[in-house]
Amino acid sequence: MSKTRLPDIIAHHEKELLNEWLQHQNEALSGRRDRIPETQLRANSQDFLRALNEALSKNAGADISRPEWTSMRDLLGEFSRNRATQGLTPTETAIFVFSFKQPLFAQISAEYAENKRGLADEIWTATELLDKLGLYTAEVFVKNREEIILRQQQEMLELSTPVVELWHGVLALPLIGTLDSARTQIVMQNLLEAIVARSSDLAIIDITGVPTVDTLVAQHLLKTVAAARLMGADCIISGIRPQIAQTIIHLGVDLSGVMTKATLADAFQLALKRKNLTVSRS
């Protein structure tokens, strides 16, 4: 394959390319024009052309993972993240790169007017490269979304396992939502740390907010109870709905070693009794 003339084409016709490209971008984003100011589009496009020429002039070829394409990848990564934050879809973000094809091909056709073989090769080089760059933009977009979801999951995990002190030495752990192994770790940690911090010897684990209890959830609960016991605190499991009680027996889960109560009120009463406390009307 003969040497590509893309760097020269782009350098010599930069102004026309830029203008035509901006026109295509605006058409593609016609519904959303107001979201991205013209100046930003222009600046992004100019940066892109610069980075493109920089890499092409170093004979970087189409493999965009090579170091010559690093500044282009950084540029596109930043661009994609910004577009995602501005609420654009992956397609709208990738259009930035793909809409460059039409103006570029027009210039290539003009350049290779007499040379059909060279024209085909050059167009292939250009399209291969722009496809890769466009797809890279979309990929960064998706990865960014995944990171946001992961971070939100983490925050939700931390928010939803509070430990509260009901009375001196009596802790309550209201569980809301499903109990998977990741959450159990956090629950155990929070509970044990609270046992030490508040010097408690009783913990009431309320599962009213746990939608389903299967053998795995039961296992996690029993683990938590065992860990608390190792630290010298007893646990009472409360908030067992009638349906849950049936499920537990049908599954053959052995809760014989654990104190259980239907409601948090009953559990609290038991806790007071164990501390030799009574509630009286004044």
């Binding site: 770790q185 155990m188 044990l192 030490v196 683990k223 860990a227 190792l230 010298g232 038991l270 164990r274």
Partner: protein, 129 residues
Amino acid sequence: MERIPILKMGSFLLVTIQVDMHDQLALTLQDDLTARIVADRASGVLIDISALDIVDSFIGRMLGNIAGMARVLDAETVVVGMQPSVAITLVELGLSLPGIRTALNVDRGMELLRSARNGEFGGDGRQDG
């Protein structure tokens, strides 16, 4: 030869484990403890493990042995001061040390031993009332 010191507090014995346990040290501790339980007519043994970052199956077994030996000599054993991370690891490994009483700290442990001596215990202390 290094040995773990055993302190007498009233009718109880207090042992604080602050170094890494190896075979010889564990055996020596068991020897010393059983001898002291008889010599001092102790009715309770308090083992403080608050300085241990790691408790493996070896130490778990050792604690179980000591509790058993003490029981044979009519003394109760309470393990105190387990760190949260240690408790979680033990539970994840399935080593929940059955039959060993535990308390949060030395004060609580002493209370437990006193009530045991006064016969207030029932089974493992679990009551559903």
